[in-house]
Symmetry: C2
Subunit: 340 residues, 2 copies
DNA sequence: CTGAAAGCGCTAACAT
DNA sequence: ATGTTAGCGCTTTCAG
């Protein structure tokens, strides 16, 4: 049992040939005689040779690593996207290094610095909640490093991205509320600096318009996406003289905070208030009543992001930023169907 | 904006000194004159020099990466543990490569192969559900590579590990049921090849004994931890002539499957059946009624695992396998307190 | 005080 | 058909 992984040198000296012969034999180079090739390959297999990625990386000046930055690591949404990235990356011989910005702008900048120091070949990023300017991507863009944003995006004219049809689904969902009998449809929104929050807000307004409503300021609450602000927003909505009969919450954290607060006040879902969540199936069906939800194709988002990334890696292409828009899906469950 | 990261060579030629001088100046080697040192350091800072980890790795024959294998990536439990590993790893200049075994023995072996090919310095692993023999760790152990198991462990006399006090908490929990008035306490168990499942099962038996009960075979169901088997087990328990008045489920998947099935049958929790879950606070308080749960110090598990790993890296120590046992915590909520 | 050279594992010209 | 050499970025003897 050798302590160190076997190298070309080991094989070469065992077989009394040169290192380059071994190297060539391993890749079936036509110059090498069949006998030598056979001997080399069989010994390599026996000794379980595998090329040293560090040496290869140094030689080719490429680490085969993608840096991934997500706002957090512990929610299904991002975990699942990361799985998708990983799968495509692995299939293409890439590793990924995962960092969490913890929703912080400062931390996001730090992550980028660290990943660049680790010599990642490029980055796949979902912006932090607190990120409001986008200059920290200058270096990456100017260096023409592969860069892909997903979900929360920016600088779309320069950077490729993967998103879902937020605006459209928000509109659809608002109309769904209306069709279900709701007439005072509230929205707990997120920071308008965040693309997804903005898109969903706009979709909401557009849906309202389609139903012949104009926006009612008092029914719209902006939050920073934290549970506490979401709870407070819900409380305010519920204490309105004319409270809403439906709430569209901008993301999962907010959705569940709203649900908890509604129940805490003893109101019934959907009888008193209809609710939809933006979350996955497991969570939507875990609670009581089961939640109508917008399901995101998380795994696919990850896959697409990785594919966009790899496409940029290839020198040939002109690096025209591409935008992939995936469809999310509204799944109707009990929480938004009022008893007739 | 240079396309390639700056190297010692770049600095050396700019300053008309040798590469080795630059290398030494950067580490404040006493041999180098203060002036040169100053010049080098200032240029390095200006040009944002950072050493090439590939070159360093090749030189020192170490990649500074830890391979991490978890049964899945998308649940809070593992994500959170990974965060803990990551934090300690990063603090110590290590990267981690994360792989998922998807609960499969075959995939686990594959992951190990791949990680070894990536030249990780060692592994931190939580065994897959389907892993029943442990010979695939021979190579790692014989090579004296750092290896740490957590949660689901094996070969404890040879390998360091991090676990929680499963046996004790299962006992405590069983007694808690009894104290709450339950007299027919069922257990939906996991594969007895899995350390956690075995420990919890034994703790359950021990708790029963403490309450003056002997085990009732009909109240114990063994599952493979999938949602479908858990649902089926619950169904069988509920259809017993004398159904249980409390269910202790071995993990979160099983807990939530059981809860759903109980509700589906129109039974009330905790009135008809008390329930505890092994899950995190977010999920325990998300559902109705809120679940009494066993909380695991997930982040700490990760941190400890990483620390154990790093300790093994240091050559000095004799590599005596250590076992860290962390305390989990029983948090009583509505689901296990029967109305009096 | 500083430079030259070797070597980590590998590949790809460039010999032979 | 095979070997030699240089070089990727860095550290570390060994020589000045």
């Amino acid at each position: 049992m050798t302590k160190h992984p076997v190298s070309l040198k080991d094989i070469a000296s065992a077989l009394q040939v040169s290192i380059s012969t071994v190297s060539r034999a391993l890749k079936n180079h036509p110059d090498i005689s069949p006998e030598v090739t056979a001997k080399v390959q069989s010994l390599a297999r026996e000794w379980n040779y595998s090329p040293n990625p560090l040496a290869m990386g140094l030689l080719r000046q490429q680490t085969k690593t993608i840096g991934v930055i997500v706002p957090d690591l512990v929610t299904y949404f991002y975990s699942s996207i990361i799985s998708g990235i990983e799968q495509v990356a692995k299939e293409n011989g890439y590793y990924i290094i995962i960092s969490s910005s913890n929703e912080s702008y400062e931390k996001e900048k730090e992550c980028i610095e660290n990943l660049l120091m680790s010599r990642v070949e490029g980055l796949i990023i979902c912006l932090a909640r607190d990120t409001v300017d986008y200059n920290h991507f200058d270096k990456i863009i100017n260096n023409e490093m592969p860069l892909v944003f997903f979900d929360r995006i920016c600088r779309t004219s320069e950077v490729s991205s993967v998103v879902t049809d937020n605006r459209e689904i928000a509109r659809e969902l608002t109309i769904h509320f209306y069709d279900g009998g709701a007439r005072r449809i509230a929205h707990i929104a997120g920071p308008q600096t965040l693309s997804i929050a903005k898109d969903r807000y706009e979709g909401y307004l557009s849906g309202l318009a389609d139903c012949g409503f104009s926006a009612d300021e008092s029914l719209i609450k902006f939050t920073n996406l934290t549970e506490s602000e979401a709870t407070e927003a819900t409380r305010q909505l519920l204490s309105l003289p004319k409270p809403p009969d439906a709430i569209f919450s901008v993301n999962d954290t907010v959705s569940f905070a709203a649900m908890k607060e509604i129940k805490r006040q003893g109101l019934r879902i959907p009888d008193d208030i209809s609710l939809v969540a933006i979350t996955d199936e497991f969570h939507a069906t875990l609670v009581d009543p089961q939640l109508t939800n917008v399901m995101h194709p998380t795994y696919e988002i990850g896959q697409e992001a990785a594919r966009l990334f790899l496409r940029q890696g290839k020198q040939g292409e002109k690096m025209v930023p591409m935008q992939v828009v995936l469809k999310s899906q509204l799944v109707v469950r009990a929480s938004s169907v009022k008893p007739t």
